[in-house]
């Protein structure tokens, strides 16, 4: 699903993220952990070609598309439809003046899901159906689609973002600290949904988080970043049980 080699992202002269190797297979969950400012989000955005103003080099392939070489149109077709992004702050990530349903409908039309871009009644019904199913998959009441972002809770917003990915038929979900703004009780729920999707639909998940404990509960493999460099990577069990790098060790020791 995702294949990264020698990725380097630099703003001006400053290299903020350097990832020699990162692969995410179908149904797999890979996590990137590290302290604030270590380049986690940057890496994620670079995978979708969303690092504006940065100098990016290396090889990046997402769902079979070479992100570095693809034309903007091809890149836009991958975004959303194949690889979906779930962002940290739930409400701020949704356009405040757009009803959830409208956003979803526009995205579906854009990618021609559920009846393509034609606007006949039949297509509309197709879209409605897709939307309803997606909501069900994340245990959301479809009535929520008529609401504005500020009228829903953080957990609902995160689940809606995931529903968007499902409706669009995404194969990879990239989640950037999807729960750090949430209460632990709500966090548990969102993580639950992600797990289910992975198990039931074989979605690949790339998770960014600074919470080692949380990562340890769902990730198959882990990348540890510090100051823009991957200091350690490998199967979660291995990395977290006996870390090689002193920084990882420090991280683990600091945990209560």
């Amino acid at each position: 699903m995702i294949r990264v080699r020698d990725l380097r992202v630099a703003y001006g002269d400053r290299v903020v993220a350097e990832v020699p190797e990162l692969d995410v297979a179908r149904g797999e969950c890979v996590a990137i952990v590290g302290e604030s400012g270590s380049g986690k989000s940057t890496t994620l955005l670079a995978l979708l070609g969303l690092t504006e103003g940065a100098r990016v080099s290396g090889e990046v392939s997402v769902c079979g598309v070479d992100v570095m070489k693809a034309r903007p149109r091809a890149l836009r077709a991958v975004r959303g439809a194949k690889a979906a992004l779930v962002i940290q702050s739930p409400q701020a990530a949704l356009s405040p003046t757009t009803r959830l349903g409208v956003l979803m409908r526009r995205a579906l039309r854009l990618h021609g899901v559920g009846g393509g871009s034609d606007t006949s009644g039949k297509a509309a019904r197709g879209i409605d159906e897709v939307m309803a199913q997606a909501c069900e998959a994340v245990m959301l009441d479809p009535a929520i689609l008529r609401r504005y972002p500020h009228e829903i809770s953080g957990g609902q917003a995160q689940r809606f973002a995931i529903a968007l990915a499902i409706a669009l038929g995404a194969e990879v979900i990239m989640a950037d600290e999807p729960t750090s703004a949430l209460d632990v009780t709500v966090q548990a729920e969102v993580v639950g949904v992600l797990r289910e999707l992975r198990e039931e639909r074989g979605l690949a998940v790339l998770l960014v988080s600074h919470d080692l404990a949380l990562v340890s509960t769902i990730a198959d493999r882990v990348l540890v970043m510090k100051d823009g460099v991957v200091v350690e990577s490998g199967p979660a069990r291995h990395v977290l049980r006996d870390p090689d790098h002193p920084y990882t060790r420090e991280l683990l020791e600091a945990l209560p």
Binding site: D6, G49, E52, G53, A54, R55, V56, S57, G58, E59, D66, M68, K69
Partner: protein, 282 residues
Amino acid sequence: MTVVEPRRRLPMMPDRLAAFGAVLLVLIAASALFAPWLAPYEENDPKPLDKLLEPSSSHWFGTDHVGRDILTQILYGGRTSLAIAAAVLAVSALVGVTLGVVAGYAGGWIRDVIMRITDIFLAFPALLLSLALAVVLQPSVTTVILAIAVTWWPWYARLSASVAASVSTRSYVDAARCLGVPAPVIVWRHVLPNSITPVLVQLSLDAGGVILTAAALSYLGLGAHEPTAEWGLMVQQGQTLFTTNWWVVTFPGLAILVTAFAFNVLGEGLRSALDPRRTVIR
């Protein structure tokens, strides 16, 4: 290996824009300041027999209806116009920011009272207020300054009140209160310095507007008057000559345009460097 380069930006954006405006302004200010040395003729020295001469090598911008060199008058007039702008902004910022910061910090009924007063002045048609005041106080440069400042301060009050209100919710203000720092000191030490940046940006955006308004007042005969040289007054006096002697009105008009433009460029540049959102109209 593929490399994606960032998209090229124009070299002028956005901080250079501010620098450009600043340089332009320094030039304008310097030419006003050094008017006695730069001006080719004596200030306000009418020679009726040389009136309305076309621009030429001896009078670059021509002469006006009483035979004064227009370039000379523009150079000296810059002193008045820039002084007016500076004074208006100083007075209205002083009043507006003081009231605004107090309102923003104090909140509650104090804020309500100050903001309602501000609203009243905002609802009062600005030009009418200026005009009325100019009539009450008799035309003079001081009058122009007061008349414009009266309509200008509410903007700063509003702006700084909203900024100060948000600054006042910062935890360092709470921390200072907990440390027992008296309210006036908190306002002076924490709230004011941290609210002032948007006001400064607004000031430079507004300077152009002040010059235009002052020019309009003089133009109406309610501001600067003979023998003070002032750009708006020059335009007013040359106005009926527009079709016959274009230079009399065009050069002072251009002086106003260029100066207002320079201030705007500076303000816009500062704003995009500091805060992209805020715009207040003059």
